[in-house]
Symmetry: C2
Subunit: 467 residues, 2 copies
């Protein structure tokens, strides 16, 4: 795959965008690094468009010159999504920040890609509605679309896959398309919306997103409880899901994770495998959920039910949960984070988590465990010294075993972080013969391979059409 | 687009499949007609594979000879999906009927494409689980995947889009792929599962489907109530949705629809605009839903709340709802049905329904109205004489106006029936610049254009690669 002259693109775009175009080293490096251990691979320039039409102009220039484009949200992805593997122009979407329309009577909203999830919820204040998807970081909505993000509320509300009604996308040739309308369902042609959700900027640049909103729950209750073993905690979750209790959230934290949280967030949680529950609904529905969960958790030896009754106590609890990443980094100053992300069928969850924990201890590694366990999704956060080759090898081995186990029981190598360039081999392993279909889609929509090249499906071998 | 010699394919497949291969005229004609007014366009032969491997062999033969393939489920689609526009081999999936695995502890199931929704629910008897998606007909699961079907439960459970975890698909070159695993969420590459859900057999043949299952609701209550005007009934639905009441089902029937149902299903419903509600959940949740809906419906002048307390009364009520199509055909013996299918944002529902009804009356047509109104989806069922050119012209005009109105307010030309070849012009109108992306996807995955050709995106102009 040979690309065109990035300097020619810079020469054309720099005067056009003025102080919204930069080749400064610091800015480029900041745009070539995510929050994880993946190394910095900086783009050649960064541009800050303010409208979809400006994005179209950038893309048309790069398409004409065959120069790579790397879309950038808040840089909080986990698998090297923003690394400029082939150089090129980074399109920072943070100034695409209009709330185009809030429509409370349709329970939907249209926002530009750079609006963050917290900004969106701040705008919704007073409408009685909220947008529930909450990855740890205050990510941009466009970035959350790109990685098919989820978070703690997915067990109740689904992931970005379930929230996006339609997208405005600048295609790799600069054409602007709408992938759909605002109807709650549609059978009109191929599901382009879902094709772009999770496409990680490799098929086009999302410039605006129409999302479902949800009424704020009439009642919310949150509780933590402890278990003697990780196994007991996971069994309680499995039984809750299998009984169909429509819980709002259920998060697992192991002892080490609780220690990290207590230290970083100045909490005083009992150091034991812990579940954090949240219940949403009408008063009657919440009472029924609490009764069901208390019984199931009790059967599995839960102790120390602590209720967070006041909104501020709940906020503090969930903020601590969202700050886990930073809490974990505090366990080993100077180290970096390598998060794993398998997701398995719920009946396989206990076995998968326990085997992973066993492997971590055997390999002498540091890796607190947390998880959106209601979905079967859990993370080991390896806290690593990237310069210790032996340690990195052990981490890779444990991760590979974890993914082998997940795939063998029908799970996936990534529940919510995506592929980037860090997991291409795992996607190939998971998809098997379907990997060729992923590649055919990429080639069809981005025949010049200029959109975030090297990600998801890797670099494509040259085809007749593209050479 | 020129295809190969279908007789050569017949000569190869006939001996291979013996009495599971037929060129009988009656059988071919039965496979070239759906339930609606679209004319019969028969394939050249029909084959009944019993395994995915047999499907692969058929597809490989047709691919080698460049002969069209038309996948067939139960023939209950609505937009000419099964018409053999370019002749070819019809692949009847009804003998792909294994239940491969029921996994109650994961709330999922894997079935072959020919299993129907009622057969599936019969197999689930005793597990405490059900599969809720219910188009009127007892369609095959593969066909429901192909058209992205929904039905009365979609307001609570979503459509096939939300139920399919992954698919086994025979690609147009005969390769067998899995689009994903059984994890509840995944961020592993492009969303191939959703690309095939709703692809109407134009990208490959679905041979097996892994579906989510749902616990049978602890409590169910159903009720009908009447309104003075259609407007009042629709307002009650809009307010119910806008308040976030998690109802199980809500169906609208206008006076004419009630008359047809009373006559066909020997019911005795009051002849007035009617809503049929169903409430699912824990006892407390159902009580809260009923209280909320009673208040909202009452505010809009609802009268005559009738409760169907016993399961057999509920079954009778919903069977009558599902038989609406046949009830409507009974309104005008010898006529055929032309169902419309727009879906609009909920706030636009009353305006769209009333304008449609007005147009029908102005044009002197017969068209009962029913709708999965909680989704914003409603159907006019035109009962037409296809030989009356003037009547057909008036029907087309009313339908076009209805679609124009729906698209203008962010809706879609089809909520659940799909495009087939009956709605290609409407898809083009709805998709705009994105229509080229639909076509690029088709060309990438089916470069020879042998899979159900002429459907969804129409016939593609020849490209360099395909000529």
């Amino acid at each position: 795959m040979s690309y065109g002259d990035v300097q020619a693109a810079i020469a054309r775009l720099a005067p056009e965008f003025g102080d919204r175009f930069s080749v400064s080293r610091a800015l480029r490096e900041q745009h070539g690094k995510d929050t994880t251990f993946h190394p910095t691979i900086a783009p050649d320039a960064v541009v800050f468009p303010e409208t979809a039409e400006e994005v179209q102009r950038i893309v048309k220039t790069c398409a004409e010159l065959r120069v790579p484009i790397i879309p950038f949200g808040t840089g909080t992805s986990c698998e090297g999504h923003v690394a400029a593997l082939h150089g090129g122009i980074c399109v920072d979407t943070s100034r695409l920040r209009k709330i185009r329309a809030i429509r409370p009577s349709d329970l939907d909203v249209t926002v530009e890609a750079g609006v963050t999830r917290k900004e969106l919820n701040a705008h919704l204040h007073g409408t009685g509605l909220h947008f529930p998807i909450d990855p740890g970081a205050d990510a941009s909505i466009g970035g959350m679309v790109a990685t098919r993000a989820s978070g703690t509320n997915a067990v109740r509300y689904g992931t970005m896959r379930e929230q996006v009604l339609s997208l405005e996308v600048v295609m790799p040739d600069g054409e602007l398309i709408q992938t759909g309308g605002r109807a709650r369902k549609s059978a009109a042609g191929y599901d382009l919306t879902h094709l772009f959700v999770g496409s990680e900027g490799t098929l086009g640049i999302v410039t605006a997103v129409t999302l479902k909103l949800h009424p704020l729950p009439e009642h919310i209750a949150a509780a933590t409880c402890c278990f003697a073993t990780l196994h007991d905690a996971v069994l309680a979750v499995m039984q809750t899901i299998q009984c169909g209790v429509p819980i709002g959230r259920v998060e697992l934290l192991d002892e080490l994770q609780i220690e990290a949280v207590n230290r970083y967030s100045k909490m005083n949680l009992a150091v034991a495998p812990t579940l954090v529950f949240e219940f949403h609904g009408s008063r009657g529905a919440v009472q029924d959920q609490i009764a069901a969960v208390k019984e199931i958790a009790g059967d599995n030896g839960a102790t120390g039910f602590e209720w967070a009754e006041r909104p501020e106590d709940r906020s503090r609890l969930w903020q601590a949960r969202h700050d886990i990443w930073w809490a974990n980094m505090g366990l080993r100053p100077g180290a970096q984070g390598l998060p794993t992300d398998v997701c398995v069928p719920i009946s396989e969850l206990a076995r998968n988590i326990e085997a992973a924990k066993h492997d971590v201890l055997q390999a002498g590694l540091i890796a607190p465990i947390c998880g959106h366990v209601g979905d079967g999704n859990f993370h080991l956060c390896f806290v690593v010294d990237v310069n210790d080759a032996d340690e990195m090898r052990r981490v890779e081995e444990v991760n590979q075993r974890m993914i082998d186990r997940a795939l063998a029981c029908g799970g996936t190598c990534t529940g919510e972080h995506g592929i980037g360039y860090g997991k291409i081999g795992f996607l190939q392993q998971e998809a098997g013969a379907a990997f060729a279909v992923h590649r055919a889609v990429k080639r069809a929509l981005d025949p010049q391979a200029i959109m975030n090249p090297g990600k998801v499906v890797g670099d494509l071998p040259p085809s007749k059409e593209t050479t």
